[in-house]
């Protein structure tokens, strides 16, 4: 990602009119904005079955028959899945990859944007492509694709064909984990929830051994215990250990390397959040039916939510444990067990300042979009708003929003917002 220090944190306001785009094109799709807020782009229709990308008013040279899944990469480049002459590929900043496929989807990238990957289908076989290099081996089917932070790719692949209605064949196990295109020799009835270690060298997942027995596999080593179910595992302890939510006797537990890690059991336990390689572990839990909370190192918050907790994560320094929650039908942010109480209709996960003192996010309420910082709703409202950013000095907010057909990039000092 381009160093945030290099972004323009001084110019109070920059504007790009986008309403006029609708006069230039037959129609425009929803806009996307770069991390630094300097660019706004949309897929645009220029004629019957003719699509292009318009970024800051400029279109690319090449026209496509189809285009979808437009996204800005963290480094500011713009990627989109495109098709011409019934062949699909990825186009980045107007330059299409050389490789062509019969279909491409599930566009993803590493956190720094240096690796771009996707699932692909070619002549009825399935695999992944990463930075214009397709896997050497392709398979009957693919699901659950992931990229490690270093660009390693993995997916659940079907290694054995299955006839129609062949439930016996299915029970023999036809799925395996492929890493960088190479399938593990072990196959299972089901595999879900792939998870790379922090170096992209090892992989763990939930597996189903037979009709009723579930377990966790780390590389090629299965946990010995069978469980009634499991959710996504994570690596901790310098990648030497794996932890996972598992179900036993109708209750959910957190296990580490096939042994109980937390003492308590829950009605539900999933979506692990980690800090410092597992020194702090948190999970979304339900400790009574229909009541959701956060549990950190086996201690639950005193606060409960009746609807949902969608996401949970630590701030970089680990001091804040942040949850996006829904209670009595409204979305909210809860930090270390305390809610903002903003009652949003739509709400996105917040970004956190490096000093851990500022959380900024965006929400929709009563049909209007707002910036929210530390629980305080900024006075202006917008027709559309994008993910905000916080300055490296932790003293300014980058607000990116559209109002009345004009995209604005605003730098707000904290005193204006709080």
């Amino acid at each position: 990602m381009k160093d945030k220090k290099m972004w323009d944190w001084e110019t109070p306001r920059k504007e790009i009119p986008i309403k006029e785009w609708q006069d230039r094109f037959v129609w425009i799709e929803e806009p996307h904005v770069s991390c630094d807020g300097e660019k706004i782009a949309s897929i645009v229709n220029t004629d019957e079955a003719e699509f292009n990308v318009c970024c800051n008013g400029e279109t690319w040279d090449e026209i496509f028959e189809k285009a979808w899944s437009l996204k800005f990469l963290p480094d500011g480049r713009l990627a989109v899945l495109v098709s011409n002459d019934e062949e699909w590929t990825i186009c980045v900043d107007g330059i299409s990859w050389e490789k062509r496929f019969d279909y491409i989807w599930d566009l993803k990238n590493t956190p720094d944007g240096s690796f771009i990957g996707a699932a692909v289908q070619k002549e009825g076989l399935y695999g992944m492509v990463v930075n214009d290099t397709i896997w050497d081996s392709l398979y009957e089917n693919i699901s659950g694709t992931i990229l490690s932070n270093q660009g390693a790719s993995a997916a659940v692949v079907q290694v054995t064909p299955l006839g129609q209605g062949d439930i016996e064949g299915f029970s023999q196990g036809i799925f395996s984990i492929a890493v960088n295109g190479i399938a593990h020799p072990e196959s299972f009835m089901n595999i879900w929830d792939l998870s790379f270690d922090s170096k992209g060298k090892q992989i763990a997942s939930s597996i189903r051994k037979n009709r009723v027995d579930y377990s966790i596999i780390k590389n090629d080593a299965l946990w010995e215990k069978n469980f009634q179910f499991s959710w996504k595992p994570e690596f901790i302890n310098n990648n030497n250990s794996v932890i996972a939510p598992v179900r036993q006797n109708g209750k959910w537990f957190l296990f580490k390397d096939d042994m109980p890690l937390w003492d308590k059991s829950y009605e539900q336990l999933w979506k692990l959040a980690l800090h410092e390689d597992g020194r702090k572990i948190a999970a979304i839990v339900s400790d009574a039916f229909g009541k959701w909370t956060v549990c950190e190192n086996d201690t639950a918050w005193g606060l409960h939510f009746d609807t949902m907790i969608s996401n949970l994560f630590y701030s970089d320094n680990g001091d804040s444990l942040i949850a996006t929650v829904k209670n009595q039908g409204y979305w909210d942010i809860a930090v270390n067990g305390k809610s903002w109480n903003i009652r949003a209709d739509k709400l996105w996960d917040p970004v956190v300042s490096s000093n851990n003192e500022i959380l900024a996010t965006r929400m929709e309420k009563d049909g209007r979009f707002y910036l929210v910082v530390n629980g305080k709703v900024y006075k202006d409202h917008f027709d559309r708003i994008f993910e905000p950013a916080i300055s490296p000095g932790n003293d300014k907010i980058l607000l990116k929003a559209v109002k009345n057909g004009i995209y604005s990039r605003q730098i707000l000092t904290l005193d204006k917002v709080l």
């Binding site: 399935y126 189903r208 009723v212 559209v402």
Partner: protein, 456 residues
């Protein structure tokens, strides 16, 4: 498999004669020890006070019998009454402390999967409100754990587990189908979109997998309706788009939970306000009542409405206007899961009256309506059981015939397929349609309101 189907078709349609390869192969592997172990595990570790209360409360009064269309279709044969179905299956397992024969298990499969639609009509007539469908689902749970589920529905559940959809639709096939429908629909509106993964759209629209697999035109119709109504909507390109759930009906509660989880996670990931689901009843039951609750969500974590609710709102708010009412005489089938299960029958009638010139009620109706005969996973047990399903649907056939209507509106996929089978088998001469079919046919093809930026 084909040989088995032909063999079954030659025989008199009696469930006792049906050979289902999935059931036969599963039974062959069972030992007495495994049978008793699984049954006792379910009876002692999984079912709760509710189950015990039902077992101890039933007085064998028989009031449930006439509530069951399968009982009525079989000349009121006592073994087809709901209470008798319980007696032949779960009560036998309790009585024998799990030590039941393979014959009992084979009967339990037939009765619980194919002679009970888990439609809950009988519960309305039980003086104690005993939920016999729940009891039958516990039988299915045992059969699932013993691996003796009927082949076709098990294959469907296998698909659910591997792909998160019920028809083995591959991820690229799903997206490609949506883009194909979008392209076709641009013949009507040049700027029509089926917006994929539109973050922050108001509505996520979800369907069941037979739509992209066999009935893509329904997605086309919905896209036209959404566009004309000016709805800010999206569909996920990733798993979670299929709201159906046959695992709920086979007794595979774990996969059922994972399916519901994927559905709601998709909606949360897209930051939508609401999920609108297509015209399917069992899927509604899954995401509104069953799958979500197995996971621990007491209510849907993202607001969820059935297509009846949604279309009713579009029609009564003026977002969709009727150009000219539908001429043919129509009747309405109330799907169990959205009528008894959700009370949408009056809204459905209001819609019929807005859309159609001539409406004939079928009797009984609303929450008292008979099941289509396909529901509860019965139709999903596939061709081996179709002959007996037709026998079991005789009462439904007579109910349909009494209306004399030309068109039967069935706002549910399972109902739709099952009713088409009845119409064809008994030669009734009715067209079966979804509300979406009728709306698409009679609506004004104009856009209600455009966004400021002309975004699709």
């Amino acid at each position: 498999m084909q040989d088995t189907i032909i063999e079954n078709e030659k025989k008199k349609p009696d469930g006792k004669n049906v050979i289902d390869d999935g059931v036969e192969q599963g039974l062959a592997k069972l030992t007495p020890e495994r049978i008793s172990s699984v049954i006792n595990q379910v009876l002692t570790k999984e079912v709760g006070p509710r189950f015990k209360a039902y077992v101890e409360t039933c007085m064998r009064c028989g009031l449930c019998a006439d509530a069951c269309s399968i009982f009525l279709s079989n000349d009121r044969g006592p073994e087809f009454s709901p209470a008798a179905k319980v007696k032949q299956t779960i009560l036998e397992m309790i009585k024998k402390k799990g030590n039941v024969s393979k014959k009992v298990l084979k009967d339990a499969v037939r009765i619980s999967y194919t002679e009970c639609n888990v439609c809950k009509r009988c519960s309305m007539y039980c003086p104690f409100g005993i939920d016999i469908a729940y009891m039958m689902l516990q039988v299915r749970r045992i059969c699932h754990k013993l691996e003796i589920t009927p082949l076709y529905i098990q294959d469907t559940v296998n698909s659910h587990s591997a792909t998160m959809n019920q028809m083995w639709v591959k991820e690229d096939e799903w997206i490609d189908t949506l883009q194909w429908q979008e392209e076709d629909a641009r013949e009507e509106f040049e700027d029509l979109r089926i917006p994929l993964d539109k973050d922050g759209a108001d509505i996520m629209y979800s369907v069941i997998a037979p739509e992209p697999k066999f009935q893509a035109g329904l997605i086309y119709q919905t896209a036209v309706i959404m566009h004309a109504a000016g709805i800010d909507w999206t569909m996920p390109s990733f798993p979670g788009w299929d709201n159906s759930n046959m695992a709920m009906y086979t007794g595979d509660f774990e996969i059922s939970g994972r399916i519901a989880q994927a559905h709601y996670e998709a909606a949360a990931r897209l930051h939508v306000k609401k999920i609108v689901m297509g015209e399917c009843g069992h899927a509604f039951r899954s995401v509104y009542d069953v799958g979500n609750r197995w996971v621990g969500w007491s209510m849907p974590p993202v607001n969820l409405i059935h297509a009846i609710d949604f279309y009713h709102d579009l029609l009564t708010s003026g977002r969709i206007k009727v150009k000219e009412k539908y001429k043919k005489t129509v009747t309405l089938h109330d799907p169990c899961n959205v009528s008894r299960g959700r009370g949408l029958h009056n809204k459905a009638r209001e819609m019929v009256n807005i859309l159609c010139e001539s409406f004939i009620e079928m009797t009984p109706n609303r929450e008292h309506n008979y099941c289509c005969g396909a529901g509860g996973g019965v139709i999903n047990c596939g061709p081996p059981w179709k002959g007996t399903r037709m026998v079991n649907n005789r009462e439904k056939k007579e109910q349909l015939e009494r209306t004399g209507a030309e068109v039967l509106i069935a706002p549910c996929h399972n109902c739709h397929s099952g009713l088409e089978d009845i119409v064809e088998h008994y030669g009734i001469g009715m067209e079966v349609k979804f509300f979406g079919d009728i709306i698409y046919e009679v609506m004004e093809k104009t856009v209600y309101k455009k966004n400021n930026l002309k975004e699709g």
